[in-house]
Symmetry: D2
Subunit: 128 residues, 4 copies
């Protein structure tokens, strides 16, 4: 299996380059902690909390998947150029809209064409 | 080539069923008319202006693509269930985020598993 | 709507460059003309009959879709590099396997990151 | 992270139902053990060695990805119906064509809409 990487907090002593590398590849989910059954819910996924990623033709964020536990809800497939194109940097981002019927445990999984698969922390949503 | 359908305004005399059919399948782009070079721009695509579409396992919205003229920017691939699942109706929706470098002429192209391909009206964005 | 291009036969007098351009972007379906209900059928789609297409990071074949009339059966999403990578040329190709229940009228639709959407001629399969 | 399941050999004493479950979800790669630099290589991925999987609208094989180590080469996204449709069973299958430049270590990753992600054993190809 390809490795699946994930965000980790680094101590202040750890190298800036490593922080940047991990941060810019990690997907972060932003979603309300509570939702109503049958009502539309926005789920934002953005790669990078404090850092930006290249959008070069040979190095870009190609895919962002959203799972609820083991169940795939949606995939955003991005082409190089969407974040400014070759020579530019940015944070790949998409907002999915879902209509939940029960509690959610969301996980995002993204793919960088040079540095492989990265998963988010899970985001739980209480649905009632 | 598969047919590509599109939204048309119907007169009040035309049948409600036809209005519903066309409206619920048509993608509508919502985006600011002006943007700045290199700044992130939200592009929302939603299917249906006034009507909702089934989210049945054998009849759902499976794909939403965003083009700038002839250039594909991104694809959202949705699975049945994201809008409430079998027996429910909703409006498939996604927000893409793009960083433009020049004027945009955006078009969305969506796919319903029973009623094929549908395109939006173009949405122009002046980028400076 | 983005333009959808298609293969056309050119006369001997027409420019070689135009022939190459059209040929290398056009999807060609290869499939048996007859198939049996419920038996697996290979459907090959290849871009280019006599010419090859770049596999550069900024110019490559990104997607091959297979439709039966208006119905999407499958999509192959390719990344740059699968045909030798930057500086190389080749013919993007995939074989889908389908189990038909009735006569088919297959059409392929492909996407080049520089030259947009291209459709194949339809390929009919009698299924009995 | 969603679980990623994989094929395991079961002893004769283990329950048939479990064998069937594991076999029908597991992707198997068939590829020549040797290939030439710059020459096209067929890589077949099929789910199930001895068993078949439903192609029901609420339970089908939706995605087959092919990686070379950490690098995504291609994704086949399948719709329900491609293997006979509701009430039928089959083995989801695709042949990708790649032009290798160096030794390959291929892994397939597939997704069942009810039973999640499954990976293949790696398949190594010596390229010279």
């Amino acid at each position: 299996m390809p490795n699946i990487n994930a965000y980790v907090e680094l101590s202040p002593e750890e190298k800036e380059a490593k922080k940047d590398y991990i941060d810019r590849h990690s997907p972060f989910i932003t979603v309300a902690p509570n939702a109503k059954v049958g009502e539309k819910l926005a789920v934002n996924v953005r790669l990078g909390k404090n850092y930006t990623h290249p959008d070069d033709t040979d190095h870009y964020i190609n895919e962002i998947k959203l799972f609820d536990r083991e169940t795939l809800l949606a995939t955003a497939t991005l082409l190089s150029g969407i974040n400014g194109g070759h020579g530019n940097k940015g944070q790949a981002e998409v907002t999915f809209f879902i209509v939940p019927q029960k509690n959610l445990k969301l996980v995002a999984l993204s793919y960088c064409t040079k540095h492989g698969l990265w998963q988010s922390d899970p985001a739980e949503v209480a649905v009632s």
